[in-house]
Subunit: 499 residues, 2 copies
């Protein structure tokens, strides 16, 4: 019988320490744009006015670095054992919470908000790559703060790729377990070596794509600063921008660049890895990618037609608006190029349904994930076959392989829990005074890590007016959705603590 | 290889013939109230004006009887083989469609509607015990027609009890398969003897409860006619009434009577059977009944509190309104004692969520069914346990027994398909011009066999303004929901026809 006392808490604190050190370094990185845009004031030593963010970012970075280093150093020698599955679960959930607690500091210290709930919500929304914001006038925020805000999403995206492709499969959770059913040479008790190697490969791809995106955006006329901020939040499918109207004011070229990179960010990153190795046959035959693309094309076609016929929009605008919003929502990025709530009801209902589908497993996108949807549909068809032939064992197939029954079971349970959390979450939010559409919109958009929802949290509005209790609840839902439900829920199960 | 040619179509037509004969007899039964209330006109031979329904009912009855008898007689001698599983599936779906096609005749012939779509919708809404109506001024309808309308629900309720407790378990579908895992002495090829015995027992209970309900209602001051009509539609959890304001004008006593009988009708009828045999221990320990009751009590408590605090409603009115609507909706009856859409958002959101839960398996209620919800929640909790102990086989338990994994699998697939049909159905209905809330309300209320939904098909409105295509779609959804999805869907599967 191992109990709560057996958990290697030194190892957990050590890892959290490392993460806080990394967070502190990224905060210090935000000093660059802050210093550049505030160079006049900096030279005059005007640092303490609310529009200045140099000192707040510096202080926040130093706090994160010192606490991180202390945690690392104090626990380094106490950690005698390796990290097991249970520690893994705890680290994953705690790390997102810990970096959000400290990541909120720059918002508080710079005075852009005086409510810690708002600051925490904005930061959790960043690290979970959701993109739901409490700010109305984004252009009034200091440049360093906006840079840090975009960076939280970029860091979150990095984190989620490693998590979904390297950590969760070993913990037995997540859509990617389908692809790495056997991970050679890895015992559950020694996670570290394998994770390190996978992480390195993926991050190289992630950084490279971010730089490419930045270059294309600069080529389209954006400043280096705006291009970087938007690349950070495109590749992470986060959706924080630097403009009040999101990307509605961008040129068609810039919007097309964002469409391409959002689409790429919504694809399983291991496919990008295979692309580098020129294994294109493998990529083209990938059934998740195929279905992801079909869903985008069909949704875009229906919405374009509705805008052409029912709203008399010009063809090119109808097409790019539809395609942009479909890709922005299914990848759970949440950039807004057009207010989809002004479209015909069934067009934005399609957008709303896409919020539940989400990107591919192993991408930076949220939601239920395309591969799960594909498996669920195939299993339903087979369930009819099973009723006709009750004696036969009829497995679900994907990419030419039979999927073990316990995985289908897990996917079905995932879908159920997702819907139940959506329903009860909506009920809880509506108890806080939100109307029906806003409640289901806020919960669907938080749980799916999208950002804009429907109703009063629609594409041209924000989360500022939701009561504090609602913001905490939605922050929790963002975390739940981001960490594929089970990772967080398992911590609330008695069986976890009394092994 | 058996193919479509091997299906015993003579047996199918013979059974349909019997059902049409029964339907014809019930139509003729409606001549009694028609003649009684129209006795003045009858004696003057004023029969062909639109408010008179004697002749239309007579003609409809004769048509159903003649076609039914012909089908029975012609196919009687041709039917050499027994009825198997495949014939069972076809008969179940076809019978609901066939009796709806003919059941619509009285509405057409009497001229209360001139649109066959409306007449069919109303009849399918009756036989599926849904209770969605296209009529605005119900009190203006002739008494015989209203009686027939109530009878369609009563017949539908009878049908569904036999179906869910005797037929579907043998076909391997439905919530009740949990209780009759082994049906002694029945081979899938010979369904008839067992069904006949079960049906007889259940119908005695059903008829007895209907008579009790009628007596209580008469005691409360209703006319025999109104009491009968309301008993028919209470025990069948149908919800068709005889008044324009449903049951809002009823006294608290009458509403309490309806609450009690709706509650009873939403319970598994095999428990009523056990009650007659005084096996009360078995009933009290039934976990579905327990959860059904808890859900009602908790929902009522929350809504009562909201009406007291936020709407300043008097306690007794708040309590009875809440309890009535909670019971009316969870049992999928759909009687309206108060317009729940005027309640606080979260109160009617609870009502909306209850539409998905529905009554107990083996009751006349629709929806997903309480037992499935219980199993789904238990399985989700266990899924977390399975992640912690991946090697262990952890079965879901109900009423002290382990539930086989293929049944949990089926229940999970049922939930998924239910939600997917709800989502795509809502999308389709919204394409016909309905707004968001009306679309999801109409689909949830049709699929769950409830009747009143939200939005423009809310409790004080009706389905009259929905376009014809929408009425056909909703009729199909009523059928799908009533026959537990798989029974109908299996007919669309290639594997069914090419065995």
């Amino acid at each position: 019988m191992s109990t709560i006392r057996d958990i290697n808490r030194y190892a957990i604190l050590k890892v959290l320490g490392v993460l806080l050190i990394i967070e502190g370094l990224f905060m210090l990185l935000s000093l660059l744009p802050s210093a550049w845009y505030d160079r006049q004031c900096l030279s005059n030593m005007v640092l303490f006015e609310p529009t200045h963010d140099f000192l707040p970012l510096l202080i926040s970075g130093v706090i994160a670095l010192s606490i991180g280093s202390s945690l690392y150093i104090f626990n380094r020698n106490l950690d005698q054992n390796s990290i097991g599955k249970r520690e893994g679960y705890i680290i994953v959930s705690l790390s997102w919470v810990a970096i959000s607690i400290f990541g909120a500091l720059p918002f508080m210290l710079s005075g852009v908000t005086t409510n810690y709930t708002d600051a925490f919500f904005e930061t959790m929304s960043g690290f979970t790559t959701t993109g739901a914001s409490i700010f109305t006038d984004i252009e009034a925020l200091p440049k360093g703060i906006l840079f840090w805000r975009a960076l939280t999403q970029w860091i979150g995206g990095m984190g989620i790729i490693v998590l979904s492709l390297a950590v969760l499969p070993i913990l037995g959770i997540g859509g990617m377990q389908l692809f790495v059913a056997e991970v050679p040479g890895v015992t559950p008790d020694k996670l570290t070596p394998r994770i390190t190697q996978t992480a390195k490969n993926l991050w190289v791809i992630y950084v490279a794509m971010t730089l490419f995106c930045t270059a294309f955006l600069i080529f389209g006329g954006l400043s280096i600063y705006d291009a970087l901020c938007h690349s950070f939040t495109t590749l992470s499918t986060g959706g924080f921008g630097t403009k009040n109207d999101s990307v509605a004011g961008f040129s068609p070229y810039l919007q097309m660049v964002l469409i391409v990179f959002m689409y790429l960010a919504g694809i399983n990153f291991s496919l990008h890895f295979f692309a580098l190795r020129r294994r294109f046959k493998y990529i083209i035959s990938n059934e998740e990618l195929k279905n992801y693309t079909y869903i985008i094309l069909i949704s875009t076609a229906i919405i374009t037609a509705s805008l052409l016929i029912l709203k008399n929009v010009a063809f090119d605008k109808a097409l790019i608006d539809s395609l942009f919003q479909v890709v922005s929502i299914i990848t759970t990025t949440g950039f807004v190029s057009a207010d989809y709530l002004t479209w015909p009801t069934y067009s934005w209902l399609i957008i709303f349904l896409l919020m539940f589908i989400g990107g591919c497993a192993g991408s930076t996108g949220g939601g239920i994930k395309v591969v799960r949807i594909v498996l669920l549909f195939r299993n339903s068809k087979l369930e009819l076959k099973r009723l006709i032939h009750p004696q036969a064992l009829i497995p679900v197939r994907l990419n030419g392989k039979s999927i073990p029954q316990h995985i289908i079971f897990n996917v079905l349970a995932f879908f159920l829990i997702y819907i139940v959390i959506f329903a009860t979450g909506s009920l809880a939010v509506s108890m806080m005074g939100l109307d029906f559409e806003s409640s289901i919109g806020a919960v669907a958009a938080s749980l799916g890590n999208i950002g804009p929802g429907i109703g009063s949290v629609g594409p041209v509005l924000n989360y500022g007016l939701i009561p504090d209790a609602g913001k905490w609840l939605l922050s929790f839902l963002m975390l739940l959705g981001r960490l594929e439900l089970f990772t967080v829920l398992i911590l609330f199960s008695a069986a976890f603590w009394n092994k």
